[in-house]
């Protein structure tokens, strides 16, 4: 692949701003309840000893508590740890408030996750004011208009990657820029795994071609990087590290899925069926809400002994009704060769296509089915989720709670 750009560092001024709400869920909880401020707290998927920590506060992080730890392990590090259950509505409300503020500075605000935003100032009057001044203003407006305990780390750069890297330099409450004047100095202070997108395996790949530091990575020629990654990724990294944009890409939705960690391990398919039904209802509701139908269903089961089994099934006809998805998912569940206690179950739909034109079936009235599903969805939308549910979902009222995913 030829290089469409010169291999020099991009000398344009920074136009991209990356904003990261520090310790998002935990900080929002500390904002809501001032008695939790400056204390080690965590938000965990469940507040039971085996619950997985999804967000430690800044103070908890200082004690060595990390995302993914079990509550019981974190309590060994901090016996007085305060453990809270997630409150997704609260986090979504803060996310929307932040987005509202950010949208007053540029029309190009892209939420990357519940706690991250990328702002592109290219061609906006904001560039004339200076992104440093705007960053300071955003920080003070968040404190004034959303919550005085909320802090964000802001990174500025000529591309998305460098802006994100800059936002990670000082946490919490940082404000940094990586540009043509300081990139070498900053690269010198980073390790390979500090770079977003370089985890352990990619670091090993780079090591095999003699790249051990970020400066080595930056100075490596394109041929070496292609050898390391054996794909177009080598070229992307070559360009990215020089401040040129390669990450301004919107990836389409590929699948809709939900998973559930069972508090009580179940073995028999008939015992798992109500939970499967509820997972499928959630998947189906989101699938249809986004205007899609699917030609494939996937089921994943994690057993008590950490064995994992999964299977997908591609279909001739696209499906959109939860009942149809359930039928396929249950067939997959029955096919599982293991009859061990299940600790986690995941269902997803793939091979998506827009649900615009329905292929009429010979043996069933698909239009009638669509009208029925739409009526049920409308009722559930108006009166709250799961007002009308299939009988297979009986006794699942209090399980499979609302969650916020880490991705987009």
């Amino acid at each position: 692949m030829g290089l469409p750009i010169k291999p020099d560092f991009n000398s344009s001024p920074s136009t991209v701003m990356h904003i990261d709400l520090n310790s998002c869920f935990a900080t929002i909880e500390q904002q809501a309840n001032p008695f939790l401020r400056d204390k080690p707290i965590v938000v965990a998927a469940y507040d039971t000893p085996n619950g997985c920590i999804v967000a430690p506060s800044v103070q908890a992080k200082k004690l060595g508590i990390k995302v993914g730890m079990r509550v019981k392990d974190a309590r060994l590090l901090c016996p007085d740890l305060i453990v809270l259950s997630p409150d997704p509505d609260k986090y979504r409300a803060v996310h929307l408030s932040l987005k509202k503020i950010l949208s007053t500075y540029t029309p190009t605000v892209s939420p990357k996750s519940i706690d991250e935003f990328v702002l592109d100032f290219t061609g906006t009057p904001g560039l004339q004011r200076g992104l440093m001044i705007i960053s300071q203003e955003i920080k003070s407006r968040i404190k004034k208009e959303v919550g005085d305990y909320l802090t964000v780390s802001i990174g500025l750069g000529p591309n998305r990657f460098l802006a994100k890297t800059a936002s990670n330099l000082h946490k919490p409450n940082g404000l940094d820029e990586i540009n043509k004047d300081n990139y070498l100095e900053i690269y010198k202070g980073l390790t390979l795994t500090d770079l977003n997108g370089i985890a352990h395996q990619n670091a090993i790949r780079l090591n095999t071609v003699g790249i051990y530091t970020v400066l080595d990575f930056f100075r490596a020629d394109l041929r070496t990087l292609r050898m390391a990654f054996r794909s177009v990724l080598g070229y992307y990294w070559f360009v990215r590290l020089r401040g040129w944009e390669v990450d301004d890409v919107e990836w389409g939705v590929k699948s809709f899925g939900h998973s559930y960690s069972l508090p009580k391990f179940l073995t028999k398919p008939e015992d798992l069926a109500p939970l499967l039904s509820k997972l499928v209802e959630k998947v189906g509701f989101r699938l249809r809400g986004a205007g899609f139908q699917a030609r494939g269903v996937h089921l994943g089961l994690l057993f008590r002994d950490n064995e994992y089994w999964h299977r997908g099934l591609s279909l001739d006809q696209p499906i959109f009704q939860s009942q149809d998805i359930y039928r396929v998912a249950y067939r997959l569940l029955y096919r599982s060769p293991y009859h061990l206690p299940v600790r986690n179950m995941a269902v997803s739909c793939f091979n998506l296509s827009p649900k615009t034109i329905l292929q009429l079936g010979l043996f069933e009235d698909r239009l009638k089915k669509e009208s029925l599903v739409k009526a049920i969805d409308d009722i559930n939308h108006r009166w709250g989720n799961f007002v009308i549910t299939p009988a297979t979902m009986v006794n699942t009222n209090d399980v499979i709670c609302d969650r916020i995913s880490f991705g987009r």
Partner: protein
């Protein structure tokens, strides 16, 4: 310690048209009138078509989570917390 509660509660709410603010000023709980010292966070969510407002407020060394149902205009105390570990 956080205690989940679901009980009706009286709330005195002030709307200021000049500042464009809506703030709970006082709550009546446990036989006492309590002045609201601080509003930690105000957020909203919907259950079906019904919009709920949640005010997380502080009074007398306790944190209260107050829910306003905008259909009925009734208030519910959902949670009490003193900020100590469970």
């Amino acid at each position: 310690m956080i205690q989940k509660i679901s009980a009706p509660i009286s709330v005195d709410l002030l709307y200021d048209h000049r500042k464009h603010t809506v703030v709970p000023r006082q709550i009546f709980w446990d036989g006492k009138n309590l002045r609201v010292d601080q509003v930690g966070l105000h957020h909203t969510f919907r259950e079906g078509r019904t919009l709920f407002h949640i005010f997380s407020v502080v009074s007398q060394g306790l944190s209260f989570r107050l829910r306003l149902n905008t259909d009925s205009l009734f208030w519910t105390l959902e949670e009490l917390s003193d900020g100590l570990a469970n």
